[in-house]
């Protein structure tokens, strides 16, 4: 039930400005916290700007999609949708400088697999990751609880996939359209793209699904306008303009979707290596000390949490996810 869900209540925003404001705030909070002793000019050069953060996250959203597509065993689409939601929600309140997106990305997918009841063990999961798997396992498991906390434990996500099925059934039943199944490729492509935009933070899943169906229909030179006005909004004509506007906005968002230029992303990543929070960097000395300290405190309670220190060898290179090489 989307209308009564936590997704609608806490994670669907009324406009893009609200989202912008949140992203600006987390960026500033991080800079305030870690750059208190710097003057504005060096701050600007040292830390990532909100725009740079956006570009970086967009790049990692692409990685997220590719990672899920290449996942073995092949995962149902709803996991990808849920993982995207988690990723976007997480970075509304956290800076990528604080938590590196490549780590959160894998954690999001892992948690999403659990929530959507796609049973993969952690061993099987890290089998899909290039590089040091033990270390990846360590990172994912130690970030999982953090992620859930940052999501405020609102783990149920309503994806547009089932609404799409509903619309197709409805169209087959109530429309005289020939072979609605041919819309599918267009729909799938469109929905995949919406996840690279902020649409899922702004509109209800059924609105996104309807936008996808309408987009695919127009690509196939079909007109479903009468279906929308006559069948769907027959009894509520006054609500129609809002929906039309929403569909238009979603389609625009998908149309203007662009991919971040490779060289810019590379420069940003380099900058990020310097300004990221070393306490959350598994390769840094600070992190290792912190973990060791935690281990010592935990030792009395829990002797078998060995994976925390499983891979703190400094010889390990930083190419954990290694996704960008694809």
């Amino acid at each position: 039930m989307y209308p009564t869900s936590s997704q609608r209540k806490y994670w669907t925003f009324s406009n893009e400005q609200e989202i912008q404001a949140l992203r600006l705030k987390q960026n500033q909070d991080y800079i305030e916290k870690h750059g208190a002793d710097m003057d504005p000019q060096t701050r600007l050069h040292f830390f990532l700007t909100p725009e740079e953060e956006r570009l970086l996250l967009k790049q990692y959203e692409l990685h997220l999609r590719d990672f899920c597509k290449r996942f073995d065993p092949p995962m149902p689409r709803c996991i990808i949708g849920t993982a995207f939601h988690y990723f976007k929600r997480f970075y509304l309140h956290n800076s990528p400088m604080d938590f590196h997106p490549k780590e959160i990305l894998a954690t999001c997918v892992y948690l999403s697999c659990k929530v959507e009841e796609f049973n993969v063990s952690i061993g099987q999961f890290v089998g899909n990751i290039k590089g040091d798997r033990l270390k990846a396992m360590d990172i994912i498991l130690s970030n999982e609880l953090l992620l859930m906390q940052q999501l405020n434990y609102y783990l149920t996500v309503h994806n547009p996939y089932r609404p799409i099925e509903g619309f197709l059934i409805d169209i087959k039943t109530r429309c005289s359209m020939a072979n609605p199944e041919r819309l599918r490729p267009g729909i799938d492509e469109f929905v995949d793209k919406t996840f690279l935009t902020d649409a899922c933070l702004l509109y209800s899943p059924s609105q996104i699904a309807l936008a996808a169906v309408l987009h695919a229909a127009s690509k196939e030179q079909e007109n479903l306008d009468s279906y929308v006005t006559e069948s769907l909004f027959h009894s509520a004509q006054n609500k129609l303009p809002v929906l039309v506007e929403a569909v238009r906005k979603i389609r625009t968002m998908v149309r203007i979707l662009d991919f971040p230029p490779k060289d810019r992303v590379k420069a940003i990543e380099k900058k990020l290596d310097k300004c990221r929070n070393q306490e959350n960097n598994p390769d840094s000395q600070i992190y290792k000390q912190r973990m060791k300290k935690m281990m010592c405190e935990e030792d009395d309670i829990d002797l078998d949490s060995s994976y925390h220190l499983a891979a703190t060898d400094s010889s390990i290179d930083g190419s954990l996810m290694n996704i960008s090489q694809s």
Partner: protein, 311 residues
């Protein structure tokens, strides 16, 4: 738990599963075979404390702690002499002091504190209270006698009741025979219709039977000791607390807020042919309670709800 072992031959329960530990008045344990060996003559001294012991006083150890055994022995012995009852004292305070004195003596003897004085005290008490002790001993005897008497009376009553029952039964039998004879006589002598006579007799027999039924069987309501049973035992339990029951639950169908166009109901979905467009349920799924209309309705519901979002 540490293994039980004989302090003399060091045999443990593990090595000899049939090991039996014995204990005497001094509270020191010995295993059965050691007792046999040491007390061949019938008496001897404890190998640990050299107290002279008699073989016949050895008992199988019941408690893990031999000190408990020793205390039981001592208590038994002391209580044989200190047998005053509460009625023998004028005030409760005095009785309590007396009980405390007994405890003191028992504790002292158990833990070997001031043995000489304690024993002297007991002797003195025995001398001073010889009469009372004797009287109380006989009193206990008398109580036992009374109890026996009561049992005897009960037995007699039982016998009486049995005889009574037998008599009633015989009476009944005789009555039946008499009735039958009367019926035959009537049939022989009367000029009326035979079936009428039979039915009249049957009616009468029915009536007498009913009368017999209405006489309630007298139930015994107390034991021979005078304790009432039945109600008495019931009073031992608290009555089951009565639950305050509110008005009956009234089901009201939940009102769902769809924020979208109206969603077709299950019969509508089946009637309008929505179900044709999705996979039908397999027999196994059907057995599990799944119907394709459920999935169909869910998809439609999710498609339509939230369409008005933002307005």
């Amino acid at each position: 738990m540490d293994e039980q072992a004989c302090p003399r031959c060091k045999t443990t329960k593990y090595r000899n599963p049939s090991l039996k530990l014995m204990v005497n008045v001094c509270g020191h344990t010995l295993c059965e075979s050691c007792v046999d060996l040491l007390f061949l003559k019938g008496s001897g001294s404890c190998p640990e404390c050299n107290v002279p012991l008699r073989r016949s006083n050895f008992r199988v150890q019941m408690f893990d702690d031999p000190m408990v055994e020793k205390e039981i022995d001592i208590r038994k012995r002391i209580l044989r002499d200190y047998n005053k009852k509460e009625e023998d004292f004028e005030t409760l305070q005095e009785y309590n002091d007396y009980l405390e004195e007994i405890e003191c003596i028992v504790y002292n003897l158990c833990n070997n504190i001031d043995l000489l004085n304690t024993n002297k005290k007991i002797e003195q008490y025995k001398k001073e209270n010889r009469e009372v002790i004797m009287r109380n001993k006989t009193k206990i005897g008398r109580e036992e006698y009374e109890l026996e008497e009561m049992l005897e009376i009960e037995k007699q009553q039982e016998e009486l009741r049995r005889i009574e029952l037998q008599e009633i039964e015989q009476e009944n039998k005789k009555k039946k025979i008499r009735e039958k004879e009367a019926l035959i006589d009537e049939l022989m002598s009367s000029h009326e219709d035979a079936s009428k006579i039979v039915s009249a007799f049957a009616e009468q027999a029915e009536k007498t039977r009913e009368e017999a039924k209405t006489i309630p069987a007298v139930k015994r309501s107390e034991f021979s000791t005078g304790i009432k049973f039945g109600r008495g035992t019931q009073q031992g339990f608290l009555p089951v607390p009565k639950m305050e029951e509110g008005p009956l639950y009234n089901y009201v169908a939940p009102k769902l807020w769809f924020d979208g166009p109206p969603i077709p109901s299950a019969p509508e979905i089946e009637g309008k042919g929505y179900v044709q467009h999705i996979r039908g349920e397999l027999p196994a799924e059907r057995a599990g309670g799944y119907r394709s209309v459920i999935a169909c309705q869910r998809a439609l519901q999710e498609a339509l709800q939230g369409l008005y979002h933002g307005s």
